[in-house]
């Protein structure tokens, strides 16, 4: 695990071993279906399936709970505010002056929250079982230029470093008497000088990083050698074929037959 800065949990499950390109394609297919569906039972089923697959991959329960914790405020906000702004449908459950809450709007809010949760856990199936190197390599093999893939890897790698820089600068400011209010606009205002100082440090680091990259051959007019390239195994082809067949069938049912379009 990477100190809580990313979602990847190392393992040797079938999902970990699955070719990252297959995972990416199937994740995209599942995400498309979840985005098209409004049906509460189907969204619940997708969410349950994602959790079942995570459990089968022995994904740490603590990390999955962490994702739920991170999502909770957003989901609660959606379920609470959606019926306030969406007045369509019946039955009217509450009418207080301009405030009208209908049962249908309440269910639509619930469906939206479920959709976001299902999407998040679908993505977690991919990000939680694919290490950075394979993740970027799969994107490069699917057509992303290497320089962009490298930029993505470096960006991911430096998240903990910049978090550390922010932490150090923040502690230095607090040691000199800066008090950070617990929340709200005043906290944001108090954080501004910390962010500026951390940004200056980050810029200085990025200058040296640029020199390092140049010194390590980036931009050399030769074809880069690749170690440990990705290779599709029969099991990967099988999973891709089965997953795509199921996904395309569901997509056809959704678009042609209206599967999952109704709320209930």
């Amino acid at each position: 695990m990477s100190a809580g800065y990313d979602l990847y949990a190392p393992g040797d499950s079938w999902l970990h071993r699955l070719d990252p390109r297959v995972k990416l394609i199937l994740t995209a297919m599942a995400a498309l279906l979840v985005l098209l569906w409004s049906s509460l039972p189907l969204l619940l089923a997708a969410l349950a399936l994602a959790h079942l697959l995570l459990a089968l991959a022995r994904y740490p329960r603590g990390l999955a709970i962490g994702v739920w914790r991170a999502l909770a405020p957003l989901l609660i906000l959606i379920v609470t505010l959606w019926p306030v702004f969406d007045r369509r449908g019946e039955p009217v459950l509450l009418a207080l002056g301009p405030l009208i809450v209908t049962g249908e709007a309440l269910l639509r809010g619930l469906a939206t929250a479920l959709r976001i949760a299902a999407l998040s856990f679908t993505l977690l199936l991919w990000l939680g079982t694919t290490d950075q190197r394979s993740l970027v390599r799969s994107l490069v093999r699917l057509g992303l230029p290497f320089s962009l893939g490298m930029a993505l890897t470096i960006g991911l790698r430096f998240i903990p470093t910049f978090a550390g820089v922010y932490q150090t600068v923040s502690e230095a400011f607090q040691a000199r008497g800066l008090t950070l209010p617990p929340r709200g606009l005043r906290r944001l205002q108090a954080m501004l000088p910390i962010l500026v100082a951390a940004l200056v440090t980050a810029l200085r680091m990025s200058e040296q990083l640029g020199w390092t990259l140049a010194a390590r051959g980036v931009g050399a007019p030769v074809r880069r050698t690749t170690l440990r390239d990705l290779a599709m195994r029969p099991a990967d082809w099988l999973a891709l074929a089965a997953g795509l067949a199921a996904g395309l069938a569901l997509l056809w049912l959704t678009l042609a037959e209206g599967l999952g379009r109704a709320l209930r």
Binding site: S2, A3, D131, Q132, R133, T153, I154, L156, R157, F158, P160, T161, G164, M205, Q208, L209, W211, T212, L213, A214, A215, R216, G217, V218, G219, A220, V222, R223, R224, T225, T226, L227
Partner: protein
């Protein structure tokens, strides 16, 4: 082919940051192949700036500079020649965090050789050799940010060694390390001699000098140029020089009514002299 002439020759090199603040002033210096040269200087004496000029990252404000017999004064403005220089001269920065950017130590050490398009077998051999030389093979699968300060320094040096440069420039490699880690690193740096590398290292820590240097050049923090050059033992014995260049300072304390002063360095070396 073995290098016959000097590796570096500097004539009247000066550098000013933003055209104003002088970092180096009229530096003349020759570095011979196979030397383990330690550049001693207090903070602000221009040591790090000199290394960046030697690696072609900064263009000197004035003066002329040769590497491997070719003039490289303007190399910072010429990407193709800069690549040629970087291939032969590797720089290890003071902050290892900025040099380690891959998901694992192995990937980081392999990055340079892969980028140069070397055959796969050669890359694997070179990476294994560099990891072994810096005694970090057991860290190959770890993420760089999970390592301790000393481990990061060793991995950062390995990333440069893997590209098999003829010259390794090390900018204060032992700064902020505990004594045991520092001693281990000094031992590993000394081992680069066996790999046939020319090493140029900057520091203000006197205690690491005897373990590494075949020659010492002292930079004055006021002059911002070399003020002395010689064998390590000769330089370290010259207390007046070390005091004048701010590498040690006079420390005064009292034993009853007896005033006691002695030269004092803060990084281990503690030279006593009763007066």
């Amino acid at each position: 082919m073995a290098q016959t002439g000097p590796i570096f020759r500097l004539e009247g090199i000066s550098y000013r940051y933003h055209g104003r603040h002088s970092a180096l002033d009229q530096v003349d210096l020759v570095v011979e192949p196979g030397e383990q040269l330690v550049i001693l200087g207090a903070n602000g004496s221009g040591k790090s700036t000199l290394l960046k000029i030697l690696d072609g990252l900064y263009r000197p404000t004035s003066g002329r500079l040769w590497a491997f017999g070719e003039e490289i004064t303007d190399v910072a403005d010429d990407p193709e020649r800069a690549r040629w220089l970087h291939r032969r001269v590797g720089l290890v920065f003071q902050d290892p965090d900025v040099q380690l950017f891959s998901p694992t130590v192995y990937d980081d050490v392999a990055f340079g050789p892969l980028q140069l398009g070397w055959p796969e077998e050669q890359v694997r051999e070179q990476v294994a050799r560099a990891l072994r030389a810096m005694e970090v093979a057991h860290l190959a699968d770890r993420a760089p940010y999970e390592l301790s300060g000393g481990e990061k320094r060793r991995v950062a040096i390995a990333t440069v060694l893997a590209m098999d440069p003829e010259v390794v420039l090390l900018d204060e490699p032992t700064a902020n390390l505990d004594p045991r880690t520092r001693a281990a690193l000094v031992h590993l740096i000394r081992g680069m001699r066996d790999l046939g590398k020319t090493v140029i290292l900057t520091t203000h820590e006197l205690d690491i000098v005897p373990g590494i240097a075949t020659r010492v050049v002292v930079f004055g923090d006021q002059e911002r140029r070399p003020v002395a050059s010689g064998h390590p033992s000769e330089i370290l014995r010259d207390t007046d020089l070390l005091v004048r260049t701010n590498l040690i300072h006079e420390h005064l304390h009292w034993h009853g009514e007896l005033a006691h002063t002695h030269p004092h360095a803060h990084d281990g070396e503690h030279l006593h002299e009763h007066r």
